[in-house]
């Protein structure tokens, strides 16, 4: 079955929800990719997202893997274009009209008003992912320790994700 049109629809919609960061779209991504289209399971989605945090570049490149699973190389390519195209176009238009917008009094209101909502969306995405990722005391400890280290030390977050892999191996590998 040809999944290309569905990939374009889903990822161009998700694109516009990424206010504040990619994680804002996560709850919707779960509904559409896991429950509606069944391209992957919830735990696969969590795994791909997490592995994606170790890759360089925009931190949502894991969408490429979903596109590849659903539609091969063409699927991967249309997914990237659908996910980055709409917001890139919007950013381009805003860049061109920025000087006019600067004098618009509501610009500041929008910036201030959207900040708490976008942070709320990130947090909601985080909780939605935590439901699948935090399965017991061990995983909760890894998450909290990661958080505390990041808040107190200047360290590359990708290294901590690699550290999580090592701790996971040591904790869960069947002896």
């Amino acid at each position: 079955m040809n999944q290309i049109p569905a990939l374009i629809r889903v990822f161009s919609y998700l694109s516009l929800l990424t206010v504040g960061g990619g994680m804002a779209a996560f709850p919707e991504m779960k509904v559409l990719t896991v429950e509606v289209h069944k391209w992957l399971t919830f735990s696969q989605l969590i795994h791909l997202y997490s592995v994606g945090q170790m890759a360089p570049g925009p931190n949502m490149m894991m969408i490429v893997s979903i596109g590849q699973w659903a539609g091969g190389l063409p699927g991967a390519i249309v997914t990237v274009i659908a996910f980055f195209g709409p917001t890139a176009l919007l950013a381009y238009i805003v860049t061109k009209t920025w000087k006019k917008l600067q004098k618009w009094p509501w610009r500041n209101s929008i910036e201030k008003g959207l900040a708490p909502v976008s942070i709320g969306l990130l947090l909601a995405g985080c909780f939605s992912m935590a439901k699948g990722a935090i399965t017991g005391l061990e995983t909760a400890t890894i998450a909290v320790v990661t958080l505390l280290i990041l808040l107190h030390y200047k360290i590359n977050p990708a290294l901590l994700v690699v550290g999580g892999a090592v701790v996971g191996l040591l904790t869960y590998l069947p002896k």
Binding site: N59, T95, G168
Partner: protein, 201 residues
């Protein structure tokens, strides 16, 4: 092409939009950033574009970053669009975004195939449990960092909590939460002339 004698690294006079980098240079620089920016693109963007290339100054960089954050889309690609536009117009934006996405995209293409083949191996599942838990901690740290920076009043925390409840508890779609609570929050911060707060209920 027909630029007169080379005047390297002149401080950008505001208003001139003369490209100071070729299309190929723009693509290559963003390809390098796209391939090396492990753990978040912002510091790499600043280091490569402001410090190394001096294509923009710190003030411009911060301004572009604040635009990136209040628009939908990821910082990485929104910054690529803006810097690309400044350096080389529409085509500059296009090649910057492609350069930014290409390395990570190829990597995740391969990683996705590898995961599909070996994701059920006991070694993989053990490591992935730890990776996913660490990723949760990482998002929480992002949330804390952003809150410290841009949540000013207690009301902002109410808007934030309302958004979380709407999505997680009442299963609103992200779009609905964004539009409904977003409109409330924007109206709450309506442009005031004076600091006088009058009850508008």
């Amino acid at each position: 092409m027909s630029s007169s004698t080379a005047a390297p690294a002149l401080p950008a006079a505001a208003g001139t939009s003369e490209p100071r980098a070729s299309l190929w240079q723009v693509f290559l620089e963003f390809l390098v950033i796209g391939a090396t920016s492990f753990g978040g693109v912002v510091p790499y963007l600043r280091n490569n574009l402001v410090v190394k290339r001096q294509w923009l100054d710190d003030k411009e960089f911060v301004e572009m970053l604040s635009i990136s954050q209040s628009l939908p889309g990821l910082n990485a690609t929104n910054m690529a669009v803006q810097v690309g536009e400044k350096l080389h117009g529409l085509l500059g934006s296009v090649v910057a975004v492609i350069g930014m996405c290409l390395p990570g995209g190829v990597l995740m293409y391969a990683a996705g195939i590898f995961y599909r083949l070996h994701g059920n191996h006991p070694w993989s599942t053990a490591a992935l449990k730890g990776v996913a838990a660490a990723a949760v901690g990482l998002i929480l740290a992002t949330v804390v960092g952003l809150s410290k920076k841009s949540l000013a009043s207690n009301y902002d925390f109410i808007f934030m909590a309302a958004t979380v409840l709407a999505v997680n508890r009442f299963h609103w779609s992200v779009l609905r939460a964004l539009v409904v609570i977003g409109i409330f929050a924007v109206l709450f911060h309506y442009p005031r002339k004076t600091k006088k707060v009058s009850a508008t209920e």
